[in-house]
């Protein structure tokens, strides 16, 4: 069900049969948890394996990105669709660009 005049800020209809907003907020939570948990596990494994400091910082960066995504998950539950808003797009861009930066740094560290 889609309603609301064209050109205005998106407003969710009262009836959200497919619970799309809730599922999307959960997807943000899952993404935040994946980053944070993945970073934490990686941090533990790398520390145990006496990896270099550079790799440890990469794992820390993943945890920080995960925290940001987790924070946005809470906010996205009130905004619909979250990523179409200016702040939502900033969050998505930070996540994507941050991960790409971590990847490039990882290549530099390992190469």
């Amino acid at each position: 069900v889609s309603d609301g005049p064209v050109g205005e800020e998106p407003v969710l209809p009262v009836e959200d049969v497919g619970l799309a907003r809730e599922r999307t907020a959960l997807a943000w939570s899952r993404t935040g948890l994946s980053f944070a948990a993945g970073g934490a596990v990686l941090l533990g494994l790398l520390d145990e394996a006496d990896a270099g400091t550079g790799s440890l910082w990469l794992a820390v960066a993943l945890v920080v990105l995960g925290s940001l995504a987790w924070c946005w998950a809470w906010r996205s539950a009130d905004v619909a669709p979250a990523i179409t808003t200016r702040s939502g797009r900033a969050a998505a861009t930070t996540l994507a660009a941050g991960l790409a930066a971590v990847a490039v740094a990882a290549i530099v560290v390992q190469a």
Binding site: S2, G4, V6, G7, P10, L12, P13, G18, A20, R21, R23, T24, A27, W28, R30, T31, S34, F35, G38, G39, L42, L45, L46, A49, A51, S55, L58, A59, L62, A80, P81, A82, I83, T84, A92, T93, L95, A96, A97, L99, A100, V102, A103, V104, A106, I107, Q110, A111
Partner: protein
Amino acid sequence: LDGGVASWWGRRRRTPLEDVGIRPDYRFSFANERTFLAWIRTALALVGGGVAVGELLPDLPAGGRVLGLPLIALGALIALTSLRRWEQSERAMRLGDPLTHSWLQRVVALGVGTAAVIAAVLVAVGADPG
């Protein structure tokens, strides 16, 4: 050359998404957003896996880098293109156009498949025959 530059500049300075077409059904926008997040998680898995292989499997030939670095690079590629893919889909939905074909799935399938073959070869080469 002028036409090419103008075309490139035109693509760079695209009309803001909010000013394009009409707002699509919110469920489609949500689905598009979840797809973006799924791509980001895929990129994270590749980057995390690549770092882990490179750092934690030093006994592999070339210290695991031959396997880890391509995985990380693939993760970076996906992270960078996922946002653009989201915008392309949203723009197409607002304009009522068909969704554009994504080459990303094939790249990921090919990349992960190749990585699996390389991993199998590395394990076989590194295995102690005795």
